[in-house]
Amino acid sequence: MSILLDRGNRVLIQGITGHMGTFFVEDARRYGTQVVAGVSPGREGAEVGGVPVFGSVRAARETTGADTAIVFVPPAAVLGAALEAIEGGCRLVVATADELPVQDAIELRAAARAHSAAFVGPNTPGIISPGKAKLGFMPSFCYGRGPVGVISRSGSLSYECCKRLTLAGIGQSTVIGIGGDPVKGTTAAEALALFHDDPETEALLYLGEIGGSDEDEVAWYAARAEAKPVAALIVGRTAPPGKKMGHAAALIGSRADGHAAKVTLLSDAGVAVAATLTEVIPAMRAALARRPAPAAAYATAPQRS
């Protein structure tokens, strides 16, 4: 198992005729992702790397049974494209774009909730279930299949950390980039809930940063008696207050936004917290050491890579 994405997802690419879309066709397919359709209005009838192009999500879905979308269009067009996918019945929609106005993220989140679709993004590399499928532009070689569910506010940081995990022999069930914006298609809390219900996931790694309130949700989860063990890395210890550190949400505006407050909050909730990157693997091992024996935790035996 894994969350949201596995070999079964039938993927359509919005903006398939663009640079990113074209690159993704090959890269994702090489990884095992079922790329079944592209959407590019006005270019219907064309093919990109053997993938048929349609003029609308509806046409693509009717012909190919696509149920998952990834959006590679310019920021001003993301709202329209992602709404089309969400309301057109896709159960998972990923929009990687950064530079999306927060108003548009607010609308997309509301639409996804209304249609019971999972929306991942914006400002994220996407989601990958190692050994099964990838839906985004993360570097495939960093990932290995295993028991750790990873949630990250930051793209590159998740590549770095997952490579460290994989080199340390710790595989991942699914790695989800929830993105660095304040309003998220999938929040840390929602990702935690999905991982909690996923039998393959035995422990969690949360990659957070200063600013925002996602860490509150992680702490809230970790403090529950039935929680799976959680490790976390919080970056931004050296970030000055009042300055936006790249991500819209990475800004220390109040005391609770700061590095120390977040580390304390998470530690108090029982999270194995890495205050810097060098401590990630030890923290992860500490969390994994706390997992219950598999027989007690799952009704069915989890699949391992």
């Binding site: 106005p101 532009f137 570097p139 660095g180 925002g212 550190m245 790249g246 060098t278």
Partner: protein
């Protein structure tokens, strides 16, 4: 993008919010002389227009009773440095006879899936220093419900007539925030005058820079910010780089906000001090993209060594390596550069860097240790 107080108040006024009838004095020698002609009633508040916070505590707001005193105050404020900036303008307003000070803000809040309204019955101070304020999670702007905010305010604000005015004002603010792509509109203090009228005595408005394509004011403000930046920084801003200057000596050219902070933190952990947060990932990851980053850090005397740390997904690392090769060839500065490139096609990187005598560090730890060592040596 934070607007100056007077700009924020113009936005509020356009949305039907009461603001004092102020006069804006741009930074210009002659203008100061002429202010007195335009002010009819005293006392007035002379307010420095700066983006940095806690202006009040730093003496950026002065009360004056006479034209002579006002001109003197204006000169004084123009000459004062707040944080890192001198006032870009002054705002001169009638001194308000405030009966009560409230706090009201509308801000984007992930927990609310959109906007939240924050109210405190005691304003004028840092909201964190008082008791917990009332927080009403709105969500999308059109989800604002007057009766829900009214209900939320019931415990904190006993004056029901005032409560209704706050509800009506908050509704206007939420609508204006969405209409004008604001991520925060904070009124602190929100002044209650003797007649019960509410007036925005101060205004902090932050706009969403990503809405520039559909909002000319935001686009123009971004251009203006670039214009005000020095030539070198402007080169970086033109490439969409995100730059925050810090006080260390290790210049960091990095990709990804989280990864950049992780590298900063590791520099500190290894005993060094980062000179900046410089995330180059939003722009082109090509020679054209990285060149202004080097130009900026090479020209900064505080920077002793440059650490290039990029972990690429969609970015193909052999391209980044080739860009580095090109930049190193054309570069004049002798500052040492330490590389740690990883990610897609990283296997091609060592050969390319080796082609110009550089070495790629496999692990960030090694690169950071090297950069810290070089920086210490350079001191």
């Amino acid at each position: 993008m934070m607007m100056l107080e007077y700009q924020g108040k113009q936005l509020l006024r356009s949305a039907g919010v009461n603001v004092p009838d102020g006069i804006v004095v741009p930074r210009n020698g002659r203008a100061v002389e002429k202010i007195a002609d335009r002010v009819e009633h005293y006392p007035v508040a002379v307010k420095a227009q700066v983006a940095s916070g806690s202006r009040g505590k730093r003496g950026g707001v002065l009360r004056t009773e006479t034209p002579q005193a006002m001109v003197a105050c204006a000169r004084q404020l123009f000459d004062t440095v707040f944080g890192e900036e001198r006032p870009r303008a002054l705002l001169i307003e009638p001194w308000l006879a405030i009966e009560r000070e409230l706090y009201l803000s509308v801000t984007v809040d992930g927990r609310a899936d959109g906007y939240a309204v924050i109210y405190a019955p005691k304003g004028g101070i840092d909201i964190e220093d008082g008791p917990p304020p009332v927080r009403y999670g709105v969500g999308a702007a059109q989800r604002f419900r007057a009766h829900e905010l009214r209900h939320a305010l019931a415990g904190a604000e006993s004056d029901y007539q005032l409560r209704e005015k706050v509800v009506a004002l908050a509704q206007r603010l939420v609508r204006a925030a969405a209409a004008h792509d604001c991520t925060t509109i904070e009124i602190n203090p929100l002044a209650v005058l003797a007649g019960g009228e509410l007036v925005a005595a101060d205004a902090k408005v932050v706009r969403d820079e990503w809405a520039a394509f559909r909002n000319e004011q935001i686009r123009a403000a971004r251009e203006e910010a670039k214009r005000r930046a020095g030539k070198l920084l402007r080169g970086c801003l033109d490439m969409q780089h995100m730059y925050v200057r810090l006080d260390g000596d290790i210049g960091l050219i990095s990709g990804g906000a989280g990864m950049t902070m992780a590298a900063m933190d590791m520099i500190a952990e290894f005993g060094g001090r980062p000179a900046c947060f410089l995330d180059c990932s939003p722009g082109p990851t090509s020679t054209r993209g990285y060149r202004p980053a080097f130009a900026l850090l090479d020209a900064d005397p505080q920077v002793k060594v440059i650490l290039v740390s990029v972990f690429g997904g969609g970015t193909q690392m052999q391209r980044v390596a080739n860009s580095m090769k090109e930049i190193m060839r054309e570069r004049k500065s002798a500052k040492p550069v330490v590389f740690r490139l990883d990610g897609t096609n990283v296997d091609q990187v060592p050969a390319i860097l080796g082609g110009f005598g550089a070495r790629n560090h496999d692990r960030l730890e090694d690169a950071v240790a090297e950069a810290v060592r070089l920086a210490k040596g350079a001191r």
